[in-house]
Symmetry: C2
Subunit: 476 residues, 2 copies
């Protein structure tokens, strides 16, 4: 929302609260989405404002509105509420939303909220609090509608009217047999299109999919995409349904997982909060470790360069072109890592695809290495000719023809780049698969590993070719 | 799906087709999701197999199944179909799915399909084909349910039963007044919970949001996330509804946009197809231009290093430490670019947030630069002490105490790193905002720009400090 609109809304709400204008407050909540109202009030820290709003506005709006507030505001409101008000709020909330709120609260607030929860809701909340982060269990909700498979459509609709408001979704109904085994699913629209007297087992979809409560949330998101689902049943190890995940949670998971991949591929430990809302010290902690790790890993390149100090002194154009080599190798390897890691995240590889990927990358790398080797030869000849990379003093000092020196240098870079590109891309292609096999997150470990390997390879090839092949031509 | 399960399914289907076992084919389609069947058959190129399947299976499955096949298979099937079969298939398809298929087909196939479309569907398809890629118009569908605001709930449900099967979704009903202005939305569950005699205008949600047909799909996806929507109305410039976008399309958009950001942040032009399904020449074309651009941009660092050949010859440890400097600067800047670009993509910044971001980054950068400067001093002293970075010959040659030389080198690197880190992160923070203002895609342009600037700054600072400050201490 544009800031100016937000400011106008803030004024409008605060004025209405000040004047105790209940009609205006109600009108705002009916015509403006909850999240826009919450954002307009995100700097308000006066509990009285919220208490007036919660007293005035219809309860169908307040529980959603509450979940959109900042953690500090939520804590403040819970502390200011009477037990009665707290119970009202909780009764209109879903277990998974309550869990999301509680995870950020101090222990005394958690205790007070759990005490205020109705007994069955408290059981659900306690259960959900126990699942491991990023599993299906941690994102599912326990408020779903399941029905016996011998019900008629008419009875099913009656049940929906009666119990549907307590469920997170009624768009997917889960159908079970008398032993509580999940037999199928029915979408609400199919129920409406069906004949009143049909029996659920006749019209249900039998080609449904489920996930296990311990499955990783990324796998769950991939299933939603693959099967175009609105909701999916979560089953325990005995294959009984214990919760559901709905598409709105999956949208959040997809964004979260993509952001995580982006962070890891660019050497940041994570980006789980919006940039401006993350405290400075946290941003520092997310970035510093990776810079330190990369700096320490660079010890190998430093060692190689140090060993060849004499060569660089004797032919001073050599060090000038080192960054060109290492950067090009790093970029090429980074491209491959990115493509492979993203494909792994999106679950695009099956069994046997490792070999296919390596073979494909071998062909891609050959083409790219050849193109870049030729291009670099031309680029360097041009740079040396116009004096950007100046070989004249080198050539003079060791007493060779300047054109010969130029061709030698351009050929050296060209050959080194060819080997470096091939090696960088093949390593970058294979390592993510290996990392996955070792149960390491490919997005995290591949970048630094890759840079280090590529730097070492390119420097070794560079100095090997120079000392053993090219310098001979110059008569060293 | 695990490959072995897929192979078993392939065998089961092909055997059933071979034996003309209609019952088995039907059973498979009722119990296995369409996409799993399509993948099991992804290497089948015999039109007869598909013709038998389409003849045998209930039409409620076939149009979905068709959209999951590969482009080559779709083309083959369209060519093998009689006009009657084609019309049957199209009648069960949604306009947006047909458009997705047609966009990959040769002109003669497109012409044949359009001819076979019922007149109103053809109009919709033609319309959709004209919207610009990645706009709301290009992803919307024209098959939605809208109703007059004076209808009763009972009548609305009747209309849904009658016309609902032709709509992409009936979970959100769009409510209009007599002038076709969109007045509100109603979710199907609220319709079911409501009293039969209530009028739509009384129970509709008035706090709905819409998007314009020309809005970017990324903005649309951000609105779905923000407002937790199932479907959203797309309006034209006169604010009349002309289509809708549903959550399943948004899931695809979110994945696509995240993948695009990942590609751009890592110097790949795009990754719009799965890695293994992209031909080699396309992968080469996606990667080569960026490596070339980066190589050309490196001309600035080459120029600077070339100018300081004498300094590097005179004090041979200098070139050994150049990659350490440029890589650390590049990594630090890359972290900031990544965080800012992702926040821009997720629409986390509002007006006035530019200043807030720069101020935050200034504080973050100061901390990181200070920490890294201190760390690098220690790391280099250690590396030099144990001979990884060997300064002994340098010190000897110019005749200074080796410990003094070590301290001088470590201080030089430490100071350069401090300035480089500050500059890299501040530039990396400001440039994405600037790029956005200039209507360039921040994810595309920031990486190369950043690397170039940072390399230039770090090298200039390094050699400036060396020639004007530190070398004096060594008595040069």
């Amino acid at each position: 929302m544009e800031e100016i609109v937000e400011e106008l809304l803030t004024d409008r709400i605060l004025t209405a609260v000040k004047n105790r204008n209940a009609k205006e407050i109600k009108e705002i909540f009916e015509t403006v989405p909850n999240i826009d109202i919450a954002e307009a009030l995100d700097e308000v820290d006066d509990a009285a404002v919220f208490l007036y709003i919660f007293r005035t506005v219809n309860s169908e709006y307040t529980s959603d509105f509450f979940t959109e507030l900042t953690n500090d505001q939520q804590e403040m409101i819970i502390n200011a509420f009477t037990d009665k008000q707290l119970i009202d709020l909780l009764e209109n909330s879903f277990a998974d939303d309550i869990v999301d709120t509680l995870e950020e609260m101090p222990a005394n607030v958690v205790a007070r909220v759990l005490k205020a929860c109705p007994a069955d809701l408290r059981k659900d909340v306690n259960n959900l609090l126990n699942y491991k982060e990023n599993t299906a269990g941690s994102v599912m909700t326990t408020e779903y509608l399941d029905m016996k498979d011998d019900l008629t459509v008419k009875d099913a609709l009656k049940i929906i009217r009666k119990r549907g408001k307590d469920a997170e979704t009624v768009y997917t109904i889960f159908v079970r047999d008398s032993k509580r085994n999940l037999m199928g699913t029915i979408n609400l629209d199919d129920l409406i299109f069906a004949d009143e007297d049909e029996v659920l087992s006749e019209i249900m979809d039998r080609d449904f999919v489920t996930c296990n409560v311990n499955d990783d949330q990324e796998e769950v998101a991939n299933m939603f995409k693959r099967y175009d689902l609105n909701a999916m049943a979560v089953v325990n190890n005995e294959n009984k349904i214990i919760g559901i995940i709905t598409i709105d949670d999956v949208v959040d998971i997809i964004v979260e997982e993509a952001t995580e991949d982006i962070a890891h591929l660019n050497q940041i430990s994570n980006m789980d909060e919006p940039y401006l809302k993350t405290p400075v010290y946290k941003l520092v902690l997310k970035c510093v470790p990776w810079i330190v790790v990369l700096m320490v890993l660079q010890v190998f390149s430093t060692l190689i360069l140090s060993k060849f100090q004499d060569a660089m002194k004797a032919f001073a154009i050599l060090p000038v072109l080192v960054p060109l080599l290492t950067d090009a190798g790093g970029n090429a390897g980074g491209q491959t890592t990115t493509m492979i890691v993203r494909s792994i995240s999106l679950d695009e590889f099956g069994r046997g695809d490792f070999k296919r990927a390596v073979w494909k990358e071998f062909r891609v790398a050959s083409c790219i290495a050849a193109i870049i080797a030729v291009f670099a030869f031309g680029l360097l000849m041009a740079e040396m000719a116009i004096g950007i990379a100046d070989v004249s003093s080198c050539a003079e000092e060791i007493g060779v023809n300047i054109v010969l020196a130029m061709v030698i240098v351009a050929s050296l870079i060209s050959c080194t780049l060819f080997v470096t590109m091939m090696a960088a891309r093949l390593v970058a292609c294979m390592f993510p698969f290996l990392a996955k096999k070792l149960r390491l997150d490919p997005a995290v470990v591949c970048g630094p590993f890759n840079t280090t390997i590529v730097d070492v390879i390119s420097l070794l090839v560079y100095f090997f070719l120079w000392t053993n092949v090219f310098s001979k031509f110059l008569g060293f």
